[in-house]
């Protein structure tokens, strides 16, 4: 096959690179991941700018531990509390995974606020990154909703009455409040169905929305680049980052009628 004999080192390299090249040739994924990970960033960025990645990591921990907890948890009034006891006391490392999910929830919320504070103090919400701030606010809302719906699931006295108060707080919103309450409870009172409803919202609906919003959030981070700190010596906005794409639209305008020639 090869006219030239490969040294053992080259053989190893070949063995490692071959599958990577195979994947790259058929999907372009390797280039894509390189593009994502090895972006150009300002030279004077600092550790505060890792808070966003830290928040993402906290979310991934929540998603993974939550999926595992779902294997043992039973979302109905008769079994919820005892299944939590079972997870904590009987299942191997259950106390650890539940603890990670329970404390990780607070870590996730705290990191979101710290990340938000960093973006605010660095002025990184300004043009052209306003949309990413809005998506971030939606993510914050979703995160808080996760906290609210997850709080009911242990089904102890604190969980039950905190949820009663939370649902009735929502109920005091003008006009739609009573309907929001009744929708959340799945009826006039917290009953059989409420816990399963909260479970579905907590582990299927909101996480789906969060993942979709994170994808948009990251897309905009990659597209718009990372901001310099406010004390940066580099003049802002000198790069070609904002070069409009060829068929980009400005404001409300759109291209006129297509014509031949």
């Amino acid at each position: 096959m090869a006219t030239q004999k490969l040294t053992p080192k080259e053989q190893v390299q070949e063995a490692i690179l071959y599958p990577i090249d195979w994947l790259e040739e058929r999907s372009g994924l390797v280039g894509g991941i390189k593009y994502f990970l090895f972006r150009r960033v300002p030279g004077d960025i600092n550790w505060f700018q890792t808070l966003g990645s830290a928040t993402l990591t906290a979310f991934i921990v929540q998603a993974l531990t939550g999926s595992i907890l779902a294997m043992y948890y039973k979302p109905d009034p008769q079994n919820a509390y005892s299944s939590i006891q079972h997870i904590t006391n009987d299942v191997f490392a259950g106390w650890l995974v539940r603890g990670m999910h329970r404390w990780g929830a607070s870590v996730f919320i705290i990191l979101m606020f710290m990340h938000m504070g960093r973006v605010f103090l660095f002025g990184a919400y300004k043009y052209p990154r306003e949309l990413n701030w809005i998506i971030g606010v939606l993510l914050l809302t979703m995160g808080l909703a996760e906290g609210f719906t997850g709080y009911l699931l242990p089904w102890d006295q604190t969980a039950y009455w905190a949820t009663v108060v939370g649902i009735n707080l929502n109920g005091t919103a003008p006009f739609l409040g009573p309907f929001i309450s009744q929708f959340l409870q799945g009826g006039t009172y917290i009953d059989d169905g409420t816990i399963a409803r909260f479970y579905a919202i907590h582990m299927l609906m909101i996480p789906g929305a969060i993942i979709a919003l994170i994808v948009l959030h990251l897309y905009l981070v990659i597209r718009l680049g990372v901001t310099s700190p406010p004390w940066s010596k580099e003049a802002a906005g000198t790069g070609s980052m904002l070069k409009p794409s060829r068929n980009g639209r400005r404001g409300l305008t759109r291209p006129g009628p297509r014509r031949k020639g």
Binding site: P77, P178, T188, D191, L252, R254, G256, R259, K260
Partner: protein, 306 residues
């Protein structure tokens, strides 16, 4: 190649979408409260949708004169119509690709709607349909001594188990016009729904258990208090201090075969007087935290069926 135009191609101002939105809201509210209102909403929405679409398509070449030669000289469309339709009038006499594009979108929308509507209904409707409660037997009248509150707990739906347990504070007021009079107060705080407690000792030794009903007499209580945020009520359920916005809810009751039955709960703005002679200002059941009388009650004009 001509540079893309720089003018925004927005349709002219129109009030019809507002009417359409009103119709859609009436339709959705109607689905919850009454089919007649839903029908009315559908008619309003359809009428305004028709006007709106007529407004949008007015003045575009596609609707009125599909056979005209495409405008070559003009830089922009002559009439302020949507750009999409004027763009479709190109050299092609039959804008087939446009037709296919729109029909794909339209059919996709219809299919998506057919799939989504039942799923969304499945999510929302059960919370509002078949609400309300059956009457609950909470024991013989002889278990209720005159002038004393008894803590009565019962399961509103025994099939659901403990999650459906409700608590009422029941006091026999003696006869009124020859019939027994009861004060039956619900334990849901009118602030945010925590369980109010009697302000006074219970006679645990005289606890009675009949099926899913437990009865514990109180000695003599000075009213009710809520452990969550400190709301206080007098013995008639009137708010005396703290955050609650109205008096405690009450249960309607009936007497059959010498047993007391609790019916549907209702909300109370305040109670004048005490005991059998009290005048109860009664309103439809509202969620905790919602005033039922006065200006603020205008914020909650429609209550879901419950």
């Amino acid at each position: 190649m001509q540079p893309p135009e720089d003018h925004p191609h927005v349709p002219g101002p129109s009030l019809w979408p507002v009417g359409f939105a009103v119709g859609a809201v009436v339709l959705m509210v109607g689905i919850i409260i009454s089919w007649w209102v839903a029908g009315l909403g559908a008619v309003i929405a359809l009428a305004f949708a028709f006007l709106w679409v007529r407004d949008l398509t007015a003045g575009t070449e596609l609707t009125h004169a599909p056979d005209v030669e495409p405008e070559r000289a003009a830089d922009g469309p002559a009439a302020p119509g949507p750009a999409a339709t004027s763009a479709s009038v190109t050299e092609e006499r039959f804008p087939r690709s446009k037709f296919l594009e729109l029909s794909t979108l339209g059919l996709g929308g219809v299919i998506g709607g057919i799939v989504t509507a039942p799923a969304v209904g499945f999510m929302i409707a059960p919370a509002f349909l078949k609400q309300g409660s059956k009457d609950h037997d909470i024991g013989p009248l002889t278990d209720y001594p005159e002038g004393k509150y008894v803590v009565a707990t019962f399961m509103s739906d025994p099939a659901q188990g403990e999650v459906s347990r409700r608590t009422a504070y029941v006091r026999y007021n003696g006869p009124l016009n020859g019939l027994p009079s009861f004060t039956v107060i619900s334990n849901h705080c009118a602030h945010l729904g925590c369980p109010v407690q009697p302000n006074g000792p219970l006679e645990e030794s005289q606890k009675k258990q009949i099926r899913d009903v437990t009865l514990i007499p109180t000695v003599s209580i000075a009213g009710f208090g809520c452990p969550c945020h400190g709301g206080q009520y007098d013995t008639e359920g009137n708010r005396t201090s703290g955050p609650p916005v109205r008096a405690l809810d009450r249960y309607s009751f009936s007497i059959r075969n010498g047993h007391l039955f609790l019916g549907h709960p209702f909300s109370v703005s305040h109670v004048d007087g005490t005991g059998a002679g009290a005048k109860i200002h009664k309103w439809t059941l509202a969620f905790p935290g919602e005033p039922v009388s006065g200006l603020e009650s205008w914020l909650y004009p429609i209550q879901p069926p419950h």
